[in-house]
Amino acid sequence: MTDSSPITATDGSLEQAPATGQPGSSTSRKVAAAVAANFTTALPYVLVPVLYVLSLIFIPGYFSKVSIISLLILASLLGLASLGQTMTIIAGGIDLSIPSVIGLSDIIVTQLYYKGWSLPVIFLLIAAIAIVIGAISAISSVLLHVHSLITSFGMSLVVSGIALEFSNGAVTGAVPGWLTSSVSVIGKTGPIPIPSIIIVWAVASVLAVAFMRLTRIGRETYALGANSVAAKMAVVRSTWILIVVFAISALCAAMVGIFFAGYSGIPDPTVGQPYFFLTITAVLIGGTSLLGGRGGYQRTVMGALIVAELTTLLVGVGFNSSFQELALGILVIALCSTYGREIKIAAKI
């Protein structure tokens, strides 16, 4: 039998098991399993405060508004970059073009603003370019029957080529002052004493979670990622969904590129490079499965916070960047192995 999962024999009856007076052992086993399942599901939510407390313990003088804000800026940049990535991964794909889109957007802002273009025009131009990049990754993946891993990687090379050509080795550029303050620790958003990137991230997070939960495309994204063949049979609009999530991913990357431009003020096409793996790390640590159809952006928010906290903690206690990568790698493997277990336990109850 290929069609029924091994647990089918226990169907319905097991839900009623406690009520019909099953032996205590099986009930307690179920409770233990439920605790285990909930524990691994809750793990990223637990890790965020735990890592923060560890930072407080190990980094002298860490408890300050400045350190919290700088932590949140770090997490915001990663969180925004991973927003679309979460969606592409839930849809069963992956977007490898994020770093180069960040780089291109950074170049365009710094160069065109330097040349005196108006900001709304620059932003609209960047948005349009991002949508085209995302759509090409998605459409070519569908038409050529190639995984988006490959098409988006190809797009990534094309886009970095364009970014390098466009920057033409320029080292001068300009950004508006408010953009600089939006990613500065002492930045303000109107009267609120918080830099605007954090506000932007918070609003985007709420929108992204609502999008995945409350819209047709959101629900169909999960279906597509869970089983693309079944999605076709259920007339889910696979191509349209991929275009939307890859466009969102590119838009988010473009937004991060703009913030990066505010950060440094000079053109740098390679500024997004660390995000090649960091976005995937944040998604995975949060607990969204690379297999697709499982997870959500609320988890990636935790993932981004964990990565930011861990980086801060390791830097704070004096470890170098190679050690940070090593630690992140171990964390990814350790956490994802528990998530894998969670699926089986959850299925058994």
């Binding site: 069609d3 029924s4 089918t8 319905g12 629900r219 169909e220 999960y222 869970a226 063949v229």
Partner: protein
């Protein structure tokens, strides 16, 4: 015939093999002597393929005796079976399309660092084998994908032939061959028999079984129900053994009880005015060599589709729901005003109200990690959304309606669908389309792996749908299901529709006979060639 001793040849006693809850092979017994051609017959799911897979080392038995040439062989893998002199040609033509004919024939004989044979040897061996099969002119360097299906099938036979075999197993290895190619192959098999080799073959064509075999063993529900020399076998006798005519009274009772149960519903249905056709098939041709099919399904009727594996019924279903383009002809869907539109593509067919429930639940139907509710509602959102935002309240209402009426056993719609039983999963997959008010519901073997009680509930569900005016096309591999549920049974053989049996007056023997291409008085599209 050569002397027969138990020390040589194949002895199988009480062999069994289960897959989870399913006993594919319960108690198989078989004697196969050197210098004998032996035919293994049985309906779909009778255990033939399982037995053959055990003999060729693909599967291992759970219990029982298997003795080959005097001792119990270690058939742990296909290569160890080949080492024991057992070569198998499988039902599916297992080829590597990109490799040449020669490479395909010698596939698996290579060593690690060098070819097992020199190229010259390979060419000579391959040419010899193919010429024995009547394919003298075939270019050995042609890539496999350029060959016709029959040529591919013969190539897989040649692959078995070049092995040093003493037992050749052919599992439906003649399904794609024409009469001439088949005769050539049989000639070779008879020649091998003269040399004291053994052949075990299965075929869906009764004339082949009676024409080639020395003895016949019949399997039913995983157990051997009889072995006889071909001289004592008759077509009718074998068919009734296969369908279990000895205890056919049980099956008939069940069926008539079911029909009796349904009388009330049917008489209610009769009172309503005659329904108009909603699906019309015009001169639809599935394969180049098959006869065109024309039929009509009226609203409220259930059309059953039957046939042995690979006889065209699955292609027919795929043509109906737009997953496949017919070689010729078309399928039309009629709307309430009697206007017809032909089926072009899956989405378009779906929009016209043709809803398809695929065969393989896990790979084509279920969204494993998603909840029961999400699995149910996935098709609804195209209707239940406002500017892309979900109207969850409505969807929940429809879910509740469906769960109540189908007696869906799911403690909570939020649980992952993978924890439901096969039958309840199937209910959800059906509910997905029922909630979308299908005009034509096309279901591909929906009761596969469903336990008995849930089966009853699904029967009721289908009947209620039909009573509501849905036309149902119901493909099943279980004849009892078709006799229980459908109004008419369309039987397929070699890509053609060979019989249209009114369920009221048909028995399982009628259906089985038609599946093997036998003559039928109900059959006005007579299938000329295959007769025993």
């Amino acid at each position: 015939m050569p002397p027969r001793s138990e020390a040589s040849g194949l002895v199988i006693d009480d062999l069994s093999r289960s897959f989870g809850q399913t006993r594919a092979l319960a108690s198989a017994t078989l004697r196969l002597y050197p210098g004998e051609i032996h035919s293994l017959v049985g309906e779909n799911g009778s255990g033939k393929s399982t037995l053959i897979k055990i003999l060729s080392g693909v599967l291992s038995p759970d219990s029982g005796t298997l003795i080959w040439e005097g001792d119990a062989p270690q058939l742990g893998s296909p290569s160890s079976a080949q080492g024991a002199g057992i070569a198998t040609v499988f039902q599916e033509t297992l080829i590597v399309p990109e490799m040449t004919v020669r490479e395909n024939i010698y596939l698996g004989t290579d060593r690690i660092f060098r070819y097992g044979h020199r190229k010259g040897e390979e060419l000579a061996g391959a040419r010899q084998a193919l010429s024995d099969l009547g394919l003298d002119g075939l270019d050995l360097d042609r890539p496999m994908w350029t060959l016709s299906l029959a040529e591919r099938q013969l190539t897989t036979v040649a692959r078995a032939m070049i092995r040093p075999w003493r037992l050749l197993i052919l599992d439906e290895a003649t399904s794609a061959l024409d009469a001439q190619q088949r005769d050539r192959l049989f000639e070779y098999l008879r020649f091998a028999r003269e040399q004291g080799k053994s052949v075990l073959f299965t075929s869906h064509r009764m004339d082949e079984v009676l024409g080639l075999a020395d003895r016949i063993t019949v399997l039913r529900q995983g157990a051997t129900v009889g072995t006889m020399p071909v001289a004592q076998a008759s077509r009718r006798g074998i068919l009734s053994l296969m369908s279990g005519r000895a205890d056919v009274t049980d099956v008939a009772d069940v069926v008539s009880a079911e029909k009796g149960l349904d009388r009330r519903g049917e008489s209610e249905r009769q009172q309503s005015p005659p329904q108009r056709p909603v699906l019309r098939v015009e001169e639809l041709t599935l394969r180049a060599t098959a006869k065109p099919i024309s039929l009509e399904v009226r609203a409220g009727k259930i059309l059953g589709l039957a046939g042995l594996e690979g006889q065209g019924q699955v292609e027919f279903v795929e043509c109906l729901c737009g997953l496949r383009r017919p070689a010729d002809g078309r399928a039309l869907v009629l709307n309430d005003n009697g206007e017809s539109r032909s089926v072009r593509g899956y989405r378009a067919a779906n929009r016209m109200g043709v809803r398809y429930v695929p065969r393989d639940r896990r790979y084509e139907g279920l969204f494993g990690p998603l909840s029961v509710f999400d699995n149910f509602a996935v098709t609804l959102w195209s209707e239940l959304n406002q500017f892309g935002l979900l109207r969850r309240q409505q969807a929940r209402k429809r879910y509740q309606q469906f769960a109540d009426s189908s007696r869906l056993v799911a403690a909570s719609p939020k649980r992952p669908i993978s924890v439901l039983s096969g039958g309840n999963q199937q209910k959800v997959l059906l509910g997905r389309w029922i909630a979308m008010r299908p005009r034509v519901l096309v279901v591909n073997d929906p009761l596969r792996g469903v336990d008995h009680n849930t089966k009853e509930e699904l029967y009721r569900l289908f009947r209620r749908l039909a009573a509501d005016g849905v036309a149902i096309v119901f493909l099943s591999t279980e004849i009892v299901e078709l006799l229980t549920l459908t109004d008419q049974i369309a039987v397929f053989h070699e890509g053609s529709l060979v019989a249209m049996l009114p369920t009221e007056v048909s028995s399982d023997t009628d259906v089985v006979a038609a599946m093997f291409g036998a003559d039928r008085q109900h059959d006005d599209r007579q299938h000329g060639g295959a007769n025993g």
